[in-house]
Symmetry: C2
Subunit: 174 residues, 2 copies
């Protein structure tokens, strides 16, 4: 599965700025067969593991997060960028290379002690995933794990996350 996905992910040099090689996952979405294989793989991985909800981080975390939740028959929680969620919400800031960003969750999106798997397309430095974990806990849930399509291992993002859950997995590693 990893080699198959790597063949499709596209390296885009100098995005979003000079010197960065961006891993473009959009060709995966153009390939329906591979997309279904990835989704089947995620379903097999998390079926029967006691996960009670999936939280996806806007916006690429919505791509596999929601279909996975539908296939597992459990709620999908939207974690969105600041100002996008309309109802009562909780916010969390996290550091970017320059400045900070904020993500939010609806206060009623997570049931008490619900076991939530946090999903995003990419684990880089782990800042947004850690902020998502804090949001899940503030909202009353428990972090049952993290799942990413791609991990950039050299950025050590897992170090930020393993105090929330040791259950961290990804499909592709660079």
């Amino acid at each position: 599965m990893e080699e198959k996905i790597k063949k499709v992910i596209r390296d885009v040099p100098d995005f979003p700025k000079p010197g960065i090689i961006f891993k473009d996952i959009t060709p995966i979405m153009m390939d329906a067969k591979l997309s279904n294989e990835i989704l089947d793989h995620l379903v097999e991985t998390y079926e029967g593991q006691g996960i009670e909800a999936i939280a996806g981080i806007e916006s690429r975390g919505f791509l596999f997060g929601y279909p996975l939740a539908m296939r597992l028959g459990i709620p999908f929680i939207l974690i969105r960028k600041k100002g996008k969620l309309p109802y009562d919400k909780i916010s969390c800031d996290y550091d970017l290379e320059y400045g900070t960003a904020t993500i939010e969750i609806h206060t009623d999106a997570v049931g008490h002690k619900t076991k939530v798997l946090i999903h995003d397309d990419l684990l880089a430095t782990g800042g947004s995933a850690e902020a998502a974990a804090r949001l899940i806990e503030k909202a009353g849930g428990e972090v049952a794990g993290f799942n990413f399509l791609v991990e950039l291992e050299f950025l050590n993002g897992r170090q930020k996350l393993d105090s929330y859950s040791k259950n961290i997995s990804n499909l592709v590693t660079y």
Copy 2:
């Protein structure tokens, strides 16, 4: 189906500004049974209709757009906000109430004359959907239709779209 969805959609008064009643669809995502029923309904609607790709508008258009494409076995095209797509791209501006917004598509995301269904969660004034249609055509594709979860009929968004395709459908009307 419409009544079932309307029971779940939440009215949020004064969002994003005073006097607007926002239709919050996030409770649909919390309801896995309803989510699967909606997806099944969309699959039944578009199966065998000659649709060759689905384009979803960031970010709520990703929610049902990608699962629908996966179920139909066709490519999913991401239409994103300015600056988010990493590769060679085409841009299109559209008017907001105050100022303009820009959406983008990868130049290689649409095959020549590919019949594309444009999907988003909400048809309001139709500005972003029309911009999406222009992007699909600029990229070499054909607009085979538009699909929305919710239409705000009193805003007459269809008027902006029917020169691209008469095939405009939605699940819920207000």
